[in-house]
Amino acid sequence: MEAIYKTPKTLIDTPTHYCPGCGHGIVQRLIAEIIDEMDIRGKTIGLAPVGCAVLAYNYLDIDMCEAAHGRPPSVATGIKRVHPEKIVFSYQGDGDLAAIGTAEIIHTANRGENITVIFVNNAVYGMTNGQMAPTTLINQKTLTTPHGRSEKNDGYPLRVCEILSVIDGSRFIARTSITSPKNIIKTKQLLEKGFKTQIQEKGFSLIEILSPCPVYWRMSSVESLKFIDKEMSTTFPLGIFKDWESRN
């Protein structure tokens, strides 16, 4: 009998270090599926961030590189300029990309660097046990916002796609989530589009994925998915913010 749903070749068969209900495993599996389907394993180079996903190279069987906190877009730039024919992607969390690495992501987009950024937004610093992230929602409780994020003290959740969409160098900017099979399929299509943007040398692409962190949200997995659909998606509306293929 032929298996019709199997482990992608690019996904390494090993126990996961991610917490129960975490979204990283889903996203990394999607990346592995796309690499297999596009047959680009031998020419893809990935960047792992500081944060929960630093060990992404334990799961993806491709050439990979760590980067200092916030710096994956710069490291990716350095790699891509040496190997313009290779496919280079950075995988980043919200603290990495939208706090300590804000300058790097904006200027990498502004240079129109031909790389793909996969931005996993779970509104919290997971690896350090759940502090406020730049994308933490107003009133959301974290270790460093024990009474909830206050706009007066902590400012507002940063909308990265909206910011990047007004930068001339951006070519494909989209936000998606992984709360249902339908959304996971949609996410895969958007990731494919990101890789296609790069392969066709159209320039900078970023796909933001709203992803659950049940452990540090102090919620069950099911509650986490509902939180994304009802709360997070209100602050961070899903959709395509910039697309080189559309006339707008």
């Binding site: 394993r41 031998g42 020419k43 893809t44 180079i45 792992a48 630093v54 060990l55 190279y57 069987d61 491709i62 050439d63 990979m64 590189c65 760590e66 980067a67 200092a68 916030g70 710096r71 710069s74 490291v75 990716a76 730039t77 350095g78 790699i79 891509k80 300029r81 040496v82 190997h83 290779k86 300058a103 790097e104 904006i106 200027h107 240079r111």
Partner: protein, 364 residues
């Protein structure tokens, strides 16, 4: 300048010679941010890199520059960045990562006065930062200190070879004086970018096992093992790569230790200062790390005193004292904040050392 011919003399600033030597040495990826007194490096790279099919990016920050260097080094290319004090401080996190990931690259520091914004005049006050690590963790960069425009060019070639040989960042520690002044320079060193096979580099895992570039070792014991490997490499560098110049040290009563601009001034002093009753020699470290400790130890066994001259409040003098270990008195003369020692000041200091020594001799 559109190209260089072998053995032809060019009149260039130290900064231009540094940039051109990097190109001649096969560097095709340069990332930089404007800061005085090293701006001529960026300007030269902006003109020359497109001519040789290379990449020049004026970056948004020193952090971006050093991390692009990290990326290009990981991808297997010869790559360089340059800056001065404040910018080099910003790069330190990246330099620690480069050392921790064993990535070869060249970093140029055209030193200016500090601390803080300081000023733009010559200084040697970044010595500690350069030779003791600078960033976090137990690591070393190889540090080369040129004493002329020609030597700046020559050491840039060597820096790329050393970086590739040891998979380690190499720093050129120069200063505003050497960077800004013009001297004749010949580019006659060989470009050897393929001297060492980079089978560890990220090129896409086509038909081979994947490569991973990292400095994260979360499993107990792994990091200690990795550090032991780094220390073994550093011991090998210490054993094989020490470089210095010596002048008149055989019969010297007093030996001066100075590098870079200060060594040039001390050479002037040696030429003029022979009216003294003491014989003075000079040791000029060319590698600041690894430090030429053995030769300094050797001379300390027979000279009456050692004098260290620096454009700092006294940094290299600590390594000199460690090398001497009390075998002879170690004196220091330094100027800070853009002050440059003059041969006259050095003569005065030597006279002081001699008169103190004579007094001591008389009373005993």
């Amino acid at each position: 300048m559109t190209s260089t011919e072998k053995n032809k003399k060019y009149l260039l600033t130290g900064n231009e010679a540094c940039a051109e030597a990097a190109i001649q040495a096969g560097c095709r990826f340069y990332y930089g941010y404007p800061i005085t007194p090293q701006n001529e490096i960026l300007t030269h790279m902006a003109i020359r890199m497109p001519q040789v099919g290379g990449t020049f990016i004026q970056v948004e920050s020193e952090l971006a520059a050093i991390n692009m260097v990290y990326g290009s080094a990981a991808a297997g290319a010869r790559t360089m960045t340059s800056s001065s004090g404040p910018g080099i401080s910003l790069k330190q996190e990246g330099i620690s990562y480069l050392a921790g990931s064993e990535l070869p690259c060249v970093i140029v520091n055209i030193q200016r006065g500090g601390p803080g914004l300081g000023d733009i005049s010559p200084s040697q006050a970044d010595y500690f930062q350069a030779v003791k690590g600078g960033g976090h963790g137990d690591y070393h960069t190889i540090v080369l200190a040129p004493g002329s425009v020609q030597e700046t060019a020559d050491l840039v070639f060597d820096a790329f070879d050393l970086a590739d040989c040891y998979r380690n960042p190499v720093m050129i520690l120069s200063d505003a004086q050497l960077g800004q002044m013009m001297e004749p320079v010949v580019f006659n060193k060989k470009c050897k970018p393929n001297l060492y096979k980079k089978d560890w580099a990220l090129t896409g895992a086509d038909g081979r096992k994947r490569n991973i570039i990292k400095s994260f070792y979360p499993v107990k014991g792994e990091l200690e093992k990795f550090n032991a490997k780094l220390q073994k490499k550093y011991r090998q560098i210490k054993a094989e790569e020490v470089r210095y110049e010596e002048i008149n040290i055989e019969n010297a009563d007093i030996v001066i230790v100075a590098y870079g601009t200060c060594a040039r001034i001390c050479k002037e002093f040696l030429k003029k200062g022979q009216s003294l009753n003491v014989k003075v020699g000079l040791i000029r470290p060319i590698t600041l790390w690894p430090f030429p400790a053995d030769i300094i130890q050797k001379v300390s066994e027979r000279v009456q005193a050692i004098l260290t001259v620096e454009m700092s409040a006294g940094q290299m003098v600590e390594d000199v004292r460690l090398s001497v270990s009390g075998r002879c008195p170690v004196h220091f003369y330094g100027r800070t904040g853009g002050g440059i020692p003059t041969p006259k000041e050095i003569l005065k200091k030597i006279s002081e050392i001699v008169s103190v020594r004579e007094k001591v001799t008389c009373t005993t």
